[in-house]
Amino acid sequence: MIRQINIYHLYPAQLNLYGDRGNMLALSRRAQWRGIDLRVIPIEPGDQINFEQCDLLFMGGGQDSDQLLVAADLKKRRPEMRRAVEAGMPVFAVCGSFQLLGNYYTAVSGEKIGGLEILDLYTEAGNKRLTGNAVINCPLWQPAKTLVGFENHAGKTYLGPELQPLGTVLNGFGNNGLDKKEGAVYKNVIGTYLHGSLLPKNPWLTDYLLAKALKHRGQDSTLRELVDSIEIAAHHRAIHIAGSLRHRMRSTRA
């Protein structure tokens, strides 16, 4: 029997800022290479979302003006989305969407914009952008694996006491440049500031999400090993670049 999963791609026209297409491509290709029938269902603002049918919700990053539009629309679906998350629906949220999953966002003006309250975190606008290559140590696996990406955010995010980060910062700024935490994990929800695109150079995270989606559908979640030599070479080069003097000297720009 052919395994099948549905990925709901939330507002692809609005939330597509940092090469999020790369994340979708990584999921699609790696499913395709294993003969898994992966369907991407684009969700536009105003569409009905049947969370029952969703095996992985993907939320990308948007620019400020689009982000506000999306936040207003998404808040209407908060109760159903919350129920689905508690029931184990996998969610992968990058940048602006990661912030949106939190309790609130405080703008530079002091205005508080409410979030979806799915992750116990809040974000404060900063005047200095945290920009550069980043490497984190991620305990989703034993032993932990590294994840490499690029971060670019003015918002500083702080996690509540119970909320686990996605990883510990080895290089870069992470959520706020202070506490060495990057991203957040709650049940099957992963939020992160890392793009780059994140998934192509971290194939184990792509496979983690695919396995979670298969499992959520009640299907066999074992994934055949693939030859990932190119991805792994790119991963190691990115770790090297993030640690290089050339990169560190310019990564703290405002």
Binding site: L68, T131, G196, I230, A238, S251
Partner: protein, 486 residues
Amino acid sequence: MNAVHKEATKAGGLRNRLFQVKKTGAVIIGKALIAATRLLGRGGTTLPGRLAIRIKPDLAELLAARLLKGTLVVTGTNGKTTTSALIKNILIDAGYSCIHNQSGSNMSWGVASALISSASWGGAIAADWALMEADEGAFPKIVQDIRPRGVVVTNIFRDQLDRYGEIDRIQEAIGRGLQALAAGSFQAINADDPSLVSIGGLGDKERLTYGLEIELAEDSFQNTGRDLKTCPICKKELTYERIYFAHLGHYHCPSCNFRRPRPDVQLTGVASNPDGSNRLEINAFGRNLSINSPLPGTYNYYNLLAALTCSLALKIPEKQVLRTLEAANPSFGRMESFAIGDKVLVMALIKNPVGANEVLRTILKTAGNSTLLVAVNDKIADGTDVSWLWDVDFEQLAAVLTVPDRFSATFAAGLRAWDMAVRFKYAGLDLTKVQVEEKTGAALRRALQATPAGGTLYVLPTYTAMLEIRRHLNRMGYGRPYWEDR
């Protein structure tokens, strides 16, 4: 008595004379550094200006004020280099002398470097015009510094997000630059770009617009990134009657009545000539003109209209302008050809998804036994964030690779060669034909070797990778050093 000296005596006093010393000192140090960096075989287009403005922050302003006719600035995400090269050629053919920061060093210190290198050791400048290409982020500062008589803004696309954050911020920077323009100056902007047209606060400045009025085949690539989906005024969805590429087209907002203005300069028709050039029908300020243009691609229609609008605003005779435009060659790094033995190397800069997609589309139109080299660096001038590679439709190459005798080999090079290789893999390219070589020199040699006799090697580098490849080509005896371009 030269102009510089006059200024010093006019104001008088020890403080002013010290100022004068500081300025001349800054020019001398700048010029000495330019000489030194050229001896080292590099362009000397950044560091000298950087240091000189550290010593004398208003140096560019003082030097620019010496020009006989004034300054012009070209900014926007894509097309700055081609547009400013066209305007420069028009000015020169019309009998003016013109200073130009043509090697793409378009931050405020690059502008200062260009002025310093044209100044005498005493700080005098004998030129009619300075035409400066400005990075969008540096645009407000450059406008303040050199007070242009006219500016051209080509478009706003997603570009190097690590430097500017988001498109909203680029638009804000361009808006600030336009606000800073002096009364009586003009701005020529792209009417097909809603994010430019929505910039208000014109005051007594003259705004000229240009745009396309032609039918084009519908954009077949879904992901060229329509960056602006919402009305820049009221944030509701924008309706498009025509899309030329990305968010450029004929648009209006059903909610707030924001709409595309009727352009002053319009491209009304395009027909292909037997020699590969295009015959363009243009209506400029109500007059019908036609031009045989050798420049390929829709993006070059915009560049040509921008240069035409600016030149006519400067009251340069129409006949003169058309003659120069017909003779134009694709400019520095934007689509250059080199003959290398019995092979041809075609180089086109890539720096963001929209530009790269246009380049891919253009090179895929030309058939032949060809090879491809994509060189990606992640230095500041390239953009340190390489995630934009995922928004480029490299999938176009995979479809072509199944056809025999097209790209017989594909090379990934540069500091981010492995990122590029991953991109090729997920684009579905045949990996047995993909080779990775980080060093651009070695990659260039291998790619040339892999190119069959009579074939073409297409080289698509990011900005600093292009500089490296040019240095390698120079060493091999092909092409002039870039600071010696016309």
